[in-house]
């Protein structure tokens, strides 16, 4: 890393990165004030694909809102649906069969791996390496095939229902998942040899984009961004929900706070997710996946309810304010990327543009989720 450079505010020019730029992965715009190749100041402009999901919730019944959740973060749609069904089940006191909870955990973890694989590929592509993207997509394709076989779609699953699931899993899925776990472990080793230990990648990521724990607190960063800064925070552990207390898994935490720490956190999370899936398949109980009596119309008792789950990118929270009607009075979606991206403005000051874009990649952005 170069010495800190004193930037001259009067010799700057403004560089508009985005809304259409290869590194922004969607329509995100960063207005950078540049001094040569160094960033003097940056202002992130979001909202280009804002769809007002929160207003939609007010006009729909609880069940009708289910498909919307997959459209927030299209890469780990399962976790978002999970958060929503958990929130409603908690408030309406709906019992969920154990088998359904296990299948939920398994599919959510598979989706987390697929989401991290896209991040891995796209991140290395941000850094200029192309082939890892293709290898990662090859592995992700296996997950999508498995999930497609049980849910019927490849990206916007809409698989969870209040109190249960859309339908049960079959033996093919279990067998296929076990095969996938073996394959994925092999691929992860390959990724480590090809990418993690690569000297070019290491020099590009080490000491780049430091995010301190204090900054995380001020901005409310969660997920791998916080865990890369030495904060041991994972909603699955800190605030156990669903059947996660019954699994034995580690939360990878690195204290460096640089892009490489975030990279390592996500790579290890994939391994931990594999462990969870394996245990889930071993422990999978028999029984129905839907409650005896499926609730027809759902009405929550008046009051407000908060539920958080660990999505692919951090803590995803749902606040439902109910007035006893069959649609929510107010529904707030707390998306993790929104908070994670917010610290970019402060953190990227004084960086080279190439480093800043690598840093942006390490935050793992999904723009539709940020804009909602």
């Amino acid at each position: 890393m170069s010495e800190p450079i004193v930037l001259q505010p009067d010799e700057t020019f403004i560089l508009n990165v985005g809304p259409q730029h290869p590194a922004t992965h969607g329509v995100l715009r960063v207005k950078m004030t540049m001094d040569g190749e160094f960033i003097y100041d940056a202002e992130t402009v979001i909202g280009y694909i804002h769809r007002m999901h929160e207003k939609m919730a007010e006009n729909r019944t609880y069940a009708q809102y289910l498909p919307n959740l997959s459209r927030l973060d299209y890469l780990s749609a399962m976790a978002y649906c999970h958060g929503y069904v958990l929130a409603v089940e908690k408030a309406a006191a709906i019992e969920v069969p154990q088998r359904a909870e296990y299948i939920r955990a398994i599919t959510v973890e598979m989706n987390r791996i697929s989401s991290h694989l896209v991040w891995f590929g796209a991140f290395v592509m941000d850094l200029g390496g192309f082939s890892p993207l293709m290898y990662a997509f090859d592995d992700r394709e296996q997950i999508l095939d498995l999930l497609e076989a049980i849910t019927g779609s490849r990206l916007t699953y809409c698989y969870f229902r209040f109190g249960g699931l859309y339908n049960d899993i079959d033996d093919d899925f279990i067998e296929g998942t076990r095969r996938f776990i073996k394959r994925m472990r092999k691929s992860l080793k390959m990724y480590h040899k090809l990418v993690t230990t690569n000297i070019i990648l290491m020099t590009r990521l080490k000491d780049i984009g430091p995010v301190s724990a204090d900054m995380c607190q001020r901005y409310g960063a969660t997920g791998p961004v916080a865990r890369g800064s030495g904060i041991n925070y994972d909603v699955r552990r800190n605030e156990p929900y669903s059947v996660y207390p019954e699994f034995d898994f580690d939360i990878p935490v690195y204290s460096e706070g640089d892009s490489f720490a975030r990279y390592k956190v996500r790579m290890e999370e994939m391994e931990q997710s594999l462990r969870i899936i394996e245990q889930g398949l071993d422990k999978l109980p028999d029984g129905p996946v839907n409650p005896e009596k499926k609730p027809k119309t759902i009405k929550l008792p008046p009051g407000d309810y908060y539920t958080a789950v660990e999505a692919g990118r951090g803590s995803f929270g749902i606040r439902i304010v109910s007035d006893g009607d069959k649609s929510p009075y107010r529904l707030k979606l707390r998306s993790p990327t929104y908070s994670n991206m917010h610290l970019f403005d402060e953190a990227c000051r004084g960086m080279l543009i190439a480093d800043a874009l690598a840093f942006m990649g390490s935050l793992d952005l999904v723009i539709p989720e940020m804009d909602r």
Binding site: R60, A63, Q64, Y65, L66, P67, N68, R71, S131, Y135, D138, E148, A149, I150, T151, G152, S153, T156, C158, R161, Y166, N167, M190, K193, L194, V195, T197, N198, I199, I200
Partner: protein
């Protein structure tokens, strides 16, 4: 000084390891499917747009209860039926699906208590006009039976 050379050497070695992996991948079989020339098997639970299920007499099983219409989050289903003289059941006269706003969530299939709708297996839909996606599912059913 020693560190300087070990750094260079280990860096160089990591590069050669990476090249070894890509060289290995070079000779592995291809994994892509050449879409128009070949296609993959469709899964049993594939979600296409919905279609009506015919009964044994070839008529739709639908009893025009309107549950799917109500369940749809984006109001893309509109159905109507009438009660013919001397019959107890309502008979479906039209089942319109506006596929432009459908998000394939399956709420309609879930909500149907009579098992009258299911997902079709249509996947290669392409058109330049919006109107082509306003389906008349009843007509589609009649055509498929003929």
């Amino acid at each position: 000084m020693f560190r300087y050379f070990t750094d260079i050497f280990s860096g160089l070695w990591s590069l050669f390891v990476g090249m070894g992996i890509t060289f290995h991948e070079f000779f592995k079989p291809k994994i892509t499917v050449h879409y128009p020339h070949e296609s993959i098997k469709m899964t049993a639970r594939y979600r296409g747009h919905i279609e009506l299920i015919p009964g044994e007499d070839g008529q739709p099983l639908c009893v025009v209860c309107g549950m799917c219409e109500k369940a749809c989050p984006s109001n893309c289903i509109s159905i109507s039926g009438e009660k013919p003289e001397g019959s107890k059941k309502k008979v479906l006269t039209s089942y319109k699906l506006n596929f432009t706003t459908c998000s394939l969530c399956g709420s309609c299939v879930d909500s149907c208590n009579f098992g009258a709708v299911r997902f079709s297996r249509e996947y290669n839909l392409a058109s330049t006009r919006k109107e082509d996606y306003h389906y008349d599912l009843l007509k589609r059913l009649e055509e498929s039976i003929q």
